[in-house]
Subunit: 296 residues, 4 copies
Amino acid sequence: MSKNLFKGIISYPITPFLTGDGGVDIKTLEQLIDRLIQDGSHAIAPLGSTGESAYLNDEEWNAVAEASVKQVAKRVPTVVGISDLTTQNAVRRAKFAEKVGADAVMVLPISYWKLTEREIFQHYATISEAISIPVMLYNNPATSGLDLSPELIVRIIKEIDNVTMVKESSGDIQRMHRITQLSNAEIPFYNGSNPLALEAFAAGAVGWCTAAPNLIPAWPLRLYEASLAGDLKQAREVFYKQLPLLQFILKGGLPTTIKAGLQLRGFDAGVPRKPLLPLDSAGQNELAALIKQLDG
Amino acid sequence: MSKNLFKGIISYPITPFLTGDGGVDIKTLEQLIDRLIQDGSHAIAPLGSTGESAYLNDEEWNAVAEASVKQVAKRVPTVVGISDLTTQNAVRRAKFAEKVGADAVMVLPISYWKLTEREIFQHYATISEAISIPVMLYNNPATSGLDLSPELIVRIIKEIDNVTMVKESSGDIQRMHRITQLSNAEIPFYNGSNPLALEAFAAGAVGWCTAAPNLIPAWPLRLYEASLAGDLKQAREVFYKQLPLLQFILKGGLPTTIKAGLQLRGFDAGVPRKPLLPLDSAGQNELAALIKQLDG
Amino acid sequence: MSKNLFKGIISYPITPFLTGDGGVDIKTLEQLIDRLIQDGSHAIAPLGSTGESAYLNDEEWNAVAEASVKQVAKRVPTVVGISDLTTQNAVRRAKFAEKVGADAVMVLPISYWKLTEREIFQHYATISEAISIPVMLYNNPATSGLDLSPELIVRIIKEIDNVTMVKESSGDIQRMHRITQLSNAEIPFYNGSNPLALEAFAAGAVGWCTAAPNLIPAWPLRLYEASLAGDLKQAREVFYKQLPLLQFILKGGLPTTIKAGLQLRGFDAGVPRKPLLPLDSAGQNELAALIKQLDG
Amino acid sequence: MSKNLFKGIISYPITPFLTGDGGVDIKTLEQLIDRLIQDGSHAIAPLGSTGESAYLNDEEWNAVAEASVKQVAKRVPTVVGISDLTTQNAVRRAKFAEKVGADAVMVLPISYWKLTEREIFQHYATISEAISIPVMLYNNPATSGLDLSPELIVRIIKEIDNVTMVKESSGDIQRMHRITQLSNAEIPFYNGSNPLALEAFAAGAVGWCTAAPNLIPAWPLRLYEASLAGDLKQAREVFYKQLPLLQFILKGGLPTTIKAGLQLRGFDAGVPRKPLLPLDSAGQNELAALIKQLDG
């Protein structure tokens, strides 16, 4: 399978919850996935941070994984997020994702107790051995509590067969430089930090994993296309236009702000799961203004 | 109920797992709880960080909570740890703990997405309303990913009835000063940072929550007693003697090092759950030497 | 005077010291300035961090300022660095720089005691009132111990007449975004962090202040030219080629590594002033290899 | 010479400046030193951070050093602060301090460029060789920009003859633990962080270097005496009483707040040197209230 299975704009759908009992709203999820694909996303990444996978029980997680892959239906590739606290359950979920047809899994080694490099390596090795689809290593210290150095990332990718690509969400451009240097530019890297999108493409990222297409699908595509064409001035221009919205959704928490934005777009996807609270009305007004500016 | 329900040495039992299938080993847990009480612990705190509660499923968690409270059998007070990602499951666990007879719960608001102060407050309020036993607020940014300021902590305790005490594990003595100042020394605070034990007592902590009694029960008691007597020289002396071991168990991760130490003590409590790995042999040798120095 | 007085590659000459008594070696400094201009630098910035201005007494500082401006002789613009601990001496130096013909001064408010925003603002206002040439605000927390927020930077530039541009050396690309946003892209910003050169140009920097031209003058020019032309692929390619050397000179300290590199280039500019020590032989070998790769 | 030359409360006089021309006001300095000794300080430390030594030129520095030592007149020991950017000037000042009769020097290796451990070691070695009086190593990352690890501190003290004691101002109690452990409690350490005074004595500090005696001389003495007597309850009580003032003077910058406080005490010692500004009127009111509470 090609290393470059994924490129361009890789979109995270949020996970909608039903009101009242609060279970997963599969029907709305399917509609959202259709929207993202119709709007041009190059790949779909369910059950990421934006998808509130941390707040789902196993049954809910399975339902979302299965429905997502089925709904995408190979129109674009699907990469399913795996971020369990135990290796055992991470393996279980990875195997389930493979079984239902995911093209890849994106593995974030989260911590309660800080993990040593040996423990992180072993976690990836165990998951990787259990499946045949590629693994995208995912580093996101702000949510996971673990920070994988570029040296460790490159070693894992070189030494474990199925781990073939990396999503870097630390927001530190020097990590991308270092990964490029350590791998002679042979490891495809993806950017997961919205406000770094321009510079990550400048530094050679092959894709941008983002929740922004839920709200403003055309803008991330424009940035990607300008970058792909090597047109720096156009890339800069479209980046600065969408930057205020990217900053807003990051600062407010992606499930919170994306769900509020979908409501503003007339697409009811409910609210995030507690302890997360819905965006307050001041935030809704600010978000509405930011969206309007980009629609204008 | 008295605010000073808890004082002195509050011990965390580890959670033993069976080999093979890896389920919880309740029988060994019961023996460990007996040891801790016989060795002089003033309270028992199951399902804390040391108890690997983050790595248990709901059924296992229930079994440990019920067995722990039953085995303690009111010989000393029991405080059960609650650290769920969703408010809903935190409430469920808190109610279960109350039902099986816990004297209090210790609530750590862990994060995937960073929580706002409003979300943290609401999390505590919701749990507190659901139960009648006291809540110990717990701040531990290194494991939970959330750092509650002294101002927020004091506000929660003042405004939410059942929340009556705080365990501070940031390791920053200035937080304890600040809590004391903001509450006119009326909020009982407990120290959860092992290498800060001497100074926390100096600053007025009423208790020390620690896993050290699993391995060296007499030493934390000696520090507490000297502090209680106001004997600074004796407190300093017994603190520096046990400090190397306290530093070691913190640095190596408590489940990892305490389980290795119990093995060295001839008490087989198994190994931690993956991705955590057992202590390597160099670490075991170092730990054995540290224990021997304190036994001598 | 145009806001865009400076653009492109703004080079820092080191300050050479005589052996033995260790006074300033003005003759060698003049030769170095000639080299930098002949090699294509768009501006010269004496008495910056690289110029060890922190280690010069007033007399030496005056001598370097005067000789530098005289030697540049308006072939390109000159911006003289001002980084005194007292406002009084900063004013004295700024006036001296203006008197001897500098085109601008670059003011870094260094701290012993942390300064409040009011103190920083007043420092800039006092210096600015004392001279008529433009002031480049300079933020470099790693050396100065003070970190000016984008909000403060933009306020100073908007409210104090002579302060018209900013050099950002924090290495954080988000600061450049923020300055651009807060000023509607009207404040020219310069990058002072070598490993951020590609991304700073991508984000819209009008110049790059760097010591690299002392050793590899063609490479920074190539990056600037590709960026100016909007050719992202070429910019990326020439950036990654020079990145290892940029990382090396930053990590080893600029006076230390640039003086060692000049020696390797056959240009004897002495060694840095103590407590700084000359580059050790392992470092010299590594630097020689990095230079050779770029010359090849 | 005894290692325990210094113990107890080591007071920093501020450096008063004349109004108008702003030169050093030696006469007022002499009066202040008398006050500090009469009020019970166990040692005097001129030209520290509080003494604004960073903002003095060489001539002023010499005048303050000479006048201070002469005025103390061996009633108590004197330790003169040395914090120059160049080794050469640090040596010159250390020799001057010895010549005019200082009992010791306190050396803070400040940085513009970050120094390597080799450079820091060499800086201490060069100064130490040039004089015969003891050197107190001083670590204060917040003002100096350099952070010396306990390992480096202990190595310097073990390997360089004249360096015999350490003042730790990082505010991190774990550093004091580590120095004690690495030296078998044989290196005398002094605390330079005001809000850590209680815990530093608990951990074994032999002295507290502080500017507080300029304003509230009785209170630091009470804390020291209770700690020396091993009376933890009394130590805690007197510490919490003075803590709000200690926090205030630290937060506002010592020269700024101590000079304002002296004014409130009816002792006119002028204002700090620019860029430092005098305490504003809200701050003055707050400080007056804090002093009044302790006087009452």
